[in-house]
């Protein structure tokens, strides 16, 4: 026997994400970190940047700190990443 029901799962909003511009061959990539105030996330993200630096072709570009752990980073702070880095690492939760 079959039972016809309505699917409870919502359709997720589709976001179009712009691709970053390609880097030049041999260009050193500058990687920033968005610090979300969480100690574990900070350790992980800065550790990733250190590894990339050791691998070569990357360098640390500094950090931007969210004003508070559990609120979104304000657009001005995120915009500041554009001038300082080619990419930024961010974490959620701890």
């Amino acid at each position: 026997m079959s039972l016809r029901v309505l699917d409870p799962i919502a359709s997720a909003e589709q976001l179009e994400v712009a691709e970053p511009p390609p880097g030049h061959p041999g260009q050193v990539r500058r990687i920033a970190v968005v610090d979300n105030h969480k100690a574990n996330a900070y350790l992980l993200l800065t550790g990733m940047v250190e590894r990339l630096e050791r691998r070569g072709g990357y360098e640390a570009a500094g950090e931007v700190r969210k004003p508070q752990a559990s609120v979104p980073a304000d657009p001005e702070r995120l915009q500041s990443l554009v001038g300082m880095s080619g990419a930024a690492l961010a974490g959620t939760a701890d």
Binding site: M1, D7, P8, I9, A10, A12, Q68, S70, A93
Partner: protein, 357 residues
């Protein structure tokens, strides 16, 4: 850069499940990753339509997108959740208003859904709809045995799971969660409240119905069997709020504290001539933690405070909210010398929404 390309309407899909009884439906739900782990009612078209009979508007119009998965919210999808949860159709407008509340950016639902903190959504219902629908405000109102409370709170959670797409361990990263994430819903006592209602405090006309959503931890007991004055009860309540273990201790910029007074405590406080404003100011002075103690651990260094708190000395005592108005006070429950203090997520503001019914 991201841009949204969402349609304005969404129609829930119909599915044929090969099930022959309630147990088979339960197992089919588990297999599909639906639900909160407890058995649900099949959301057939007829049941969903009965729910939508209580809604005035386009049931497939998108009302917003719920984090963390940014699922499209429609009245039709909310009706599906309400059926699954076992709600009565008359209670459906409460769910719609409550979901509109959590969509308010001030509620900061993305963080509430994604956090490791044990925060759930508590719904407080006020006004004429309480009697009409049978939302329970009396003895045991936050416990088992009251279907309207239980199913409304559950429908909110199913909405956060199915529409917000925040499954535990995925979009919901809670370290433990807490039982209030299954359901947390009650009504304000209108018959045993010597003060104004919470909804009226928050600007709703007393003749209107409303629902307030608050991002809360599990409640902490305020056990005062002996205190015979407002100050006694206020002091004990303050003690339940003043711990470095919750987010409020470090989140004064946005934090609020919810106090649900039992009717006996409320009567004692009122008999001393205090109104809610007196109690709020008293709590603001007494619910404090020495700065030295806050520096031991907790969220020290992650704290989000108004600038003036940064100038205090180690022996000064820091209030758990930044202003007296941040204590949200209501009256509910039955006989007994207990009240409940709910610490909050502290990066979220409560939202009160009028109910269209």
């Amino acid at each position: 850069m991201t841009t949204a390309t969402a349609p304005e309407r969404f129609a829930a899909a119909e599915l044929d499940l090969d099930v022959h009884d309630a147990e088979a439906f339960h197992l089919a739900c588990i297999e599909r990753g639906w639900g909160d782990g407890l058995p649900m009612i099949p959301p057939t078209r007829a049941r969903v339509e009965r729910m939508l009979a209580e809604f005035d508007g386009d049931p497939q119009a998108i009302r917003g997108h719920l984090p963390t998965g940014r699922g499209a919210v429609t009245a039709e999808l909310l009706a599906v959740q309400a059926v699954l949860a076992g709600c009565r159709p008359e209670a459906f407008p409460i769910l719609v208003a409550a979901v509109d509340g959590v969509l308010d950016p001030a509620f900061n639902l993305h963080s509430i859904q994604a956090t490791t903190h044990p925060v759930g959504v508590t719904m407080i219902v006020s006004g004429p709809i309480v009697q009409r629908v049978g939302v329970h405000a009396g003895a045991g109102c936050l416990g088992p045995g009251y279907p309207v409370n239980a199913t409304l709170g559950r429908a909110m959670r199913l909405t956060l799971l199915h529409v917000g797409l925040a499954r535990p361990g995925e979009g919901d990263r809670a370290t433990h969660g807490q039982p209030g994430k299954f359901t947390s819903c009650f009504a304000e006592r209108a018959d045993a409240n010597p003060f104004s209602s919470l909804a009226v405090d928050r600007g709703v006309n007393a003749a209107m119905s409303a629902v307030t959503v608050v991002g809360t931890e599990a409640p902490h007991n305020v056990n005062d069997h002996v205190g015979s004055t407002a100050a006694h009860i206020g002091t004990v309540a303050a003690s339940a709020m003043s711990t470095t273990a919750n987010n409020n201790a470090y989140g004064q910029n946005l934090g609020e504290m919810l106090l649900v007074l039992g009717p006996e405590h409320a009567a004692t406080i009122a008999a001393d001539g205090w109104d809610k404003d007196d109690l709020r100011h008293f709590l603001y002075e007494r619910a404090r933690i020495p700065l030295r103690q806050l520096k031991i651990g907790g969220m020290w260094g992650m704290h989000a405070w108004p600038a003036w708190l940064e100038s205090l000395d180690d022996d000064d005592r820091i209030p758990v909210v930044r202003a007296p108005e941040r204590f949200l006070i209501t009256v509910a429950g039955g006989e007994g010398k207990h009240s409940l203090a709910f610490p909050t997520f502290a990066s979220s503001r409560a939202v009160t929404t009028a109910i269209d019914a």
